[in-house]
Structure formats: structure tokens, C-alpha cells
């Protein structure tokens, strides 16, 4: 099988499609491969999902105790900011 049609290469291309515009030959190779490859098709959907989840992650990721400013840190910051 041609190198460009291997799942390993395709997975990398699918990832890159989130970082740069793919060339026409790359897009064609992807489309042909995806038509016949269920795992890469699943991976593509998962990449899209992770991409949209990540874009809104900061608003949704849990914030536990040690990810909040403690009272001491808050006090330190207040001191440093001082009266303006």
C-alpha cells in the first residue's frame, strides 16, 4: 500500500488539518482513505470533538481547592497591588 494511505500517516494528516490548510492532493488522499477506513473515520470525529471541547475548556474544567487562590496568596496580591 502506498505510504500516503497508511493509517499512521492519515492520523497525522487528520491532526494537521486542525493546524494548517491541507493541500488538494492531501485532501483527496484523506477522502479516499476515510471512505474505506472505519477506525480513521472514528478518529476524525473524535478529533473534531476534542477540538470543540478544548475551545471551551477554560470555562468548564473543574476548579478544585488547590486551583483557587488561597487566603494567603490573595492577601499577598492585595498588598502588592496596593492602593492605586
Amino acid at each position: 500500500m502506498l505510504n500516503v494511505f497508511k493509517c499512521k500517516v492519515i492520523s497525522r494528516r487528520l491532526s494537521e488539518s486542525l493546524d494548517r490548510p491541507l493541500s488538494l492532493p492531501e485532501r483527496i488522499a484523506l477522502r479516499i482513505h476515510l471512505r474505506f477506513c472505519p477506525p480513521c473515520t472514528s478518529y476524525r470525529k473524535q478529533l473534531d470533538f476534542m477540538h470543540s471541547a478544548s475551545a471551551r475548556a477554560d470555562d468548564n474544567l473543574p476548579r478544585n481547592q488547590d486551583q483557587s487562590l488561597g487566603d494567603e496568596a490573595r492577601e499577598r496580591l492585595k498588598q502588592k497591588l496596593g492602593p492605586q
Partner: protein
Amino acid sequence: MSSPLPETRLGPSTGGEINWLDPEKWLDEHGDALYAYALRRVREASTAEDLVQETLLTAIKAKDTFRGESTERTWLTGILKHKVLDHFRQAARELPLPEVPPLSDSQQDWFDQSGNWLRWPGDWADPERSLEQDEFWHAMSDCIDRLPDKLRIPYILREFDGVETEELIRTLNISSRNNLWAMLSRARLQLRQCLEIKWFSN
């Protein structure tokens, strides 16, 4: 992050007054969120605290430039984003992120000798619904934290913050675009597997 939300817009819609900007309240209202944002990226409590401090000091100086086109939170986070990038730029000058070895040399490989998936990615049922579930975000947080720094940092800057390729390789002092794309691809493969185990297999 860049899109303003009109319904949460602060301050009066007319007049040039900016008296709703109150630095003393910033710490109370946004301190935790800013700190969590910084900590997620730099991991170190003292560094995160410093970045929040610099952000608030910068915001105080730049107070007059706030136009109420975004929420206070968005505005402050925008300043912090630049501080975080500055931090990584500085750190990468001193100690560049290590090069990522070719996939075949790494312990964890996803493909066999002929380039086929060792284990097929599973079918994720109704992933969109996950976004509304707190447990999903716990799994996501855990999986992000499990990425090694050399993959986690580029991933977060690219996918959380939308930093483009060129700026990213300059900021992190990465030798080539190709190397960056390899790191991002690896990060996504690892994150995928982790989410599948921790969330989608239940």
C-alpha cells in the same frame, strides 16, 4: 474567549465613564478564575500567582483602554494570555522543549509496523452530550494533566488558546513546523486514548 457576550456586558451603554472598573474587586471576582487559568498552563503555584499579579498591575495601568466591548473577565483573561505566552517564551529561551522522538521510537505506539492502528479507536456515543456533564470535564482535566509537559503545553496553547503555528514555534522555540505538528498529533492521540478509557468506555 474573544467573542464578547452582549448580555453579560458590563457598565453603562452610553457615556464615557469607566467607573465600573474597580481593581479592588478584580481580585475578588476574577482572581480565582485567572489563577486557575494560569495554573493550568504553567502548573507552578508561585509562577501562576506572579502572572496573576502582573496581569492585574497591567490592567490597572491600561484601565482607561477598557472600552466595555467585552466583559471584564474576558478583558483580564486576554491580558493574562499574553503574560502566559511571555512566560513560555522566556522559559523556552532558557530551556527549549525537548524534541519529540519519532513515533516508532517511543514506548507508546499507536500503530503497527505497517502503519495500521494497533487498537481501533472506539465508537464514542453521543459525545456532544458529554460537554454538559461535570464528570466529563473531570475526565478531561485529568487527561490533560496526564500529558507530559512537552505535549501538554503546545496542546493547550494551540487548542485552548488558538495560538497559530508560527507564533507557537517562536514562543516555544520549537525547531520546525513539522516538529510542532508531530507534537500536537501525539498529544491528540494520547488525549483520545485517555478520554476513551476514562469516559467513553463507561
